[in-house]
């Protein structure tokens, strides 16, 4: 097969993706609906069977330096996983990957983009299998695991390919430079401009979004010519392993070494990320996880370009609303979805202590709190639906945190443990909502990962904005929601968003949620506050993954 084969095959899709990032209007390459019409009549059953076939087996990947096996994943739904993965000596793997830099570099942007798109398309075909893998490692409900772990993650990957491709293509491959010399002959130089990757890249995944948060870095590095090591979170290896396997398959078919995409798995007991991330030949790092470790990487992996997404205190400010019920329903979904284990879930909700204006007149703080509490309870009233939306808690520490947080304020809505009909051992917990005072800033300004949120009584909306600005500037945030019927307040919110460098959602009361972002259109994090030093995806996310090396000679 010619190396250009995949590029020719996917050129049209790439063109649409490039158009999407130029306009940032709605587009998606991969259907988000897990319907037989989109994925085939047998896709659901085949995907589940493929997932089950992994259980209790040794997962195979092609990499130099395999020295044994490791395992250790625990399904938050309580099923037996028992998948083992290759244990790799990365002092053997990294030199072997370095040897492939030249071939992958010389393939050029078109061939690399074609291969990336083929990988994404094959991943799309395996979305059901990946969905089960995401579900049983992250704890996400199946529908979310399918969408966020499958097509949405794939679209984020394709978005990164498009940004990388555009940035590379903006550098001309060559130029003739003709400088007039008055009456003399001009100076004429022929110049070549080579796109040169930084070197070996590492993507450090997280336990909660093992594909969605891995694909942007993986594909941004890969399309720009860097071989990539995926270092999954030890609790969520299988979705990464399947992704790496697919990448290796495509690379091999196209005549490249499969280990241009490799995986270094580790365990909670014997983590290798620090050592891997500071390896002298690792030149690009993408990380999603704690602020503590993200900041450590930024300061210590100085040999690499480091892109981080860390923790923050996502925020909603309620000033005034038309219809409190619609607002409460919208927020109830946000607080419930995946038990708040999203890096975009609201934690701090600022409400004036004197209450808010609604279309039906003034509403007290406690009535707003009550509306939110009732909406959440109601939304989670049907246990089957609740379990689907809440998913399971990924980490025991998060389960423990719910309990620990109960004493941090006045309980507006207590968290309940729920029974999952299908998975009796699943840790399913409903949101805990607490009321606190604006003065309790130490309490609500610390990230409490999981289903914990604070309704914060402030002096006024101006006070809410001031506090939000302070907390976001100091602790970071990826999302800010503001509810107001007053255009002047909304203008102030726009200023606040620009000042704190956080994405703003205004008056969400329907089918769009503050914690969701759409590939090609919504920038996920700005890279301008402590929650992240990078954005998914902008030009800054791709431009530093390669350098331009020129050569010139007289024509």
């Amino acid at each position: 097969m010619s190396q250009e084969h995949f590029f020719q095959r996917h050129q049209d899709t790439l063109g649409q993706a490039l158009n999407a990032i130029n306009t940032r209007s709605y587009w998606a390459a991969y259907p988000e609906n897990p319907s037989p019409r989109a994925y085939g009549e047998t896709a659901a059953a085949d995907g589940e069977a493929a997932f089950n076939a992994h259980l209790g087996k040794a997962f195979q990947l092609e990499m130099p330096g395999i020295t044994g096996e490791i395992a250790g994943e625990v399904s938050p739904y309580g099923i037996e996983m028992g998948v083992s993965y290759p244990k790799v000596d990365f002092d053997q793997l990294i030199p072997a990957m370095k040897q492939e830099v030249k071939a992958w570099r010389d393939a050029g942007p078109d061939v690399r983009a074609g291969i990336c798109l083929e990988i994404l398309e094959r991943l799309n075909k395996r979305s059901f299998e990946v969905a089960h893998a995401v579900m049983h490692t992250s704890g996400q409900g199946f529908m979310m695991a399918f969408q966020a772990g499958g097509p949405h993650a794939q679209d984020r990957g394709l978005e990164a390919v498009a940004y990388g491709y555009r940035a590379m293509k903006e550098v001309p491959e060559n130029a003739t430079w003709t400088k007039p010399q008055g009456k003399h002959d001009p100076l004429v130089m022929n110049k070549n401009f080579h796109i040169v990757p930084r070197g070996v890249a590492v993507v450090v995944g997280c336990s909660t979004f093992p594909t969605w948060n891995t694909y942007p870095g993986l594909f941004a590095s890969l399309v720009t010519g860097n071989p990539v090591i995926v270092k999954p979170h030890p609790a969520s290896v299988l979705p990464a392993a399947i992704s790496v396997q697919v990448a290796q398959e495509v690379l091999k078919e196209a005549g490249f070494a499969p280990h241009i995409v490799s995986m270094v798995a580790d365990t909670l007991d014997a983590p290798v990320t620090k050592e891997l991330a500071t390896h002298k030949d690792v030149k690009v790092i993408d990380f999603t996880g704690s602020s503590f470790f993200g900041n450590w990487l930024e300061r210590n992996a100085t040999q690499a370009q480091v892109f981080t997404e860390k923790a923050g205190v996502n925020t909603v400010i309620i000033d005034s609303v038309h219809d409190i019920k619609a607002v409460a329903r919208n927020l109830a979904f946000t607080l419930s979805l995946y038990s708040g284990q999203m890096c975009t879930t609201t934690q701090a909700i600022y409400i004036p202590r004197d209450g808010i204006k609604t279309a039906d007149g003034q509403m007290s703080f406690d009535d707003v709190a009550q509306a939110l509490s009732v909406a959440t309870s109601k939304f989670l009233g049907d246990n089957d639906r609740a379990c689907m939306v809440l998913g399971a808690i990924q980490a025991p520490a998060t389960v423990a945190r719910i309990k620990e947080c109960e004493s941090l304020g006045e309980v507006v809505l207590a968290s309940e443990k729920r029974e999952h009909a299908q998975f009796p051992n699943a840790e399913v917990h409903t949101p805990l909502i607490l009321k606190v005072d604006a003065s309790d800033i130490e309490t609500y300004s610390e990230e409490r990962f999981g289903p914990v949120s604070f309704l914060i009584a402030t002096d006024s909306t101006a006070h809410s904005m001031e506090l939000a600005n302070q907390v976001i500037s100091e602790k970071g945030a990826i999302t800010l929601g503001v509810y107001s019927t007053d255009e002047e307040v909304l203008d102030q919110a726009e200023e606040l968003a620009m000042d704190a460098k956080v994405a703003l959602s205004v008056n969400l009361d329907g089918g769009v949620f503050v914690n969701q972002s759409a590939a090609y259109s919504d920038f996920h994090a700005t890279g301008g506050n402590p929650a992240a030093n990078a954005s998914l995806t902008d030009t800054a996310f791709v431009a530093r993954r390669f350098v331009v090396v020129q050569s010139r000679r007289h024509a």
Copy 2:
């Protein structure tokens, strides 16, 4: 005057600059020839008079926080400078600049680009005045001070404006996102995407190229919305001060606070850069200077985006030549120009110890050395021309270094002190050329800033390449020149350049020199080896100076 006035006026020039960066073929906005036809009959005399009028005076700038005056420049040509500059309390200045972020941000890319281009055009009109200021601070000869300090620096500034402008314009200002919902009405969101600057920027200048190395960072930060503090090297303040004054004039005329561009001067005895660079509100830093301080900034100014150009060991590899005389003449100019005080001047010249092939047969190492020595002596034979090309040595440490280096190898060409006809106190020194063995790697792999170069006897061209790769990868380099008549060797050189991430010039034997780079066409540094973490100018140089903050709401 409308804020758009300058944009309308310069839109055409900006369009040409955008075209130039897209093609990277030859273009220049500002004439490099200091001729009366280009600059006007009286420009030379007026410029000199304007320069003289600064001497012995207090230079005025408009900034909050001025607490006194400082002075201390010493002309390398020995004239009395006696210019004093405002001493500023940057704990007053920075908050005042922060207050202007909103106005400058809201001006938008067009207005900001228009103002940048007006500043550059006015600087161009003052090129003679700036040339004298550059000459008497950096020690450059007048012609170089005019070209590199005037039009070439202005073109590098405009190039940065064009890159910043293009990057901002690639983000759509708004979008309508319409997501189909099957049989239901689609979800429709209106989205705004704001270009938001990082904050206050600082440009730390160097003593040798006070404008050329300052304008890219200054204009890249300014066009992307960041107010900028220029922190000149204490030895080269006047060129920066004139530049800031021009910027302030234009800002005021356009209705902005002049201190959106400010200057913080310091002295060698009381440097302020560390404190300034780690100020919590400084969010972007551009630096040109020593590796020691550049690395310190990269590691310590973690609150900021840091762009550095540092030291390196620029390299030439001679494998084979057609005409050794042409090659030697070309290299003689490179080694002589501004006494090697360029960040691009060759230091390490690798030659096989068994000699090289030429069109006239094999030539021994010593004959190659001799040819280079003779060409340099001949080129500098005429003392007036020599003084013009060599300029004066900027720093006493560099003068001392020439002497110190004499014992590092076998002297092929001794450095001579020359008398400058016009400036008897000028420190004018010809190049020192030493012969060393490949094994003396500790000697030639350390940067020896100034007119010192090493002819390194290697086992073969392959050995030369291996050593060059090692030294450049470890110590950095901005330029690599390779001479060979063998296309296979040139292919290897291309590989070496990509591997060490350094710009390559092949077989320069005419009017183009390895130490010169042309705006819009040659990338100055790649950002991929230790000589610099950034390139003048690529997309990575501008993309991190702003973030995108979006807002979305239901249509």
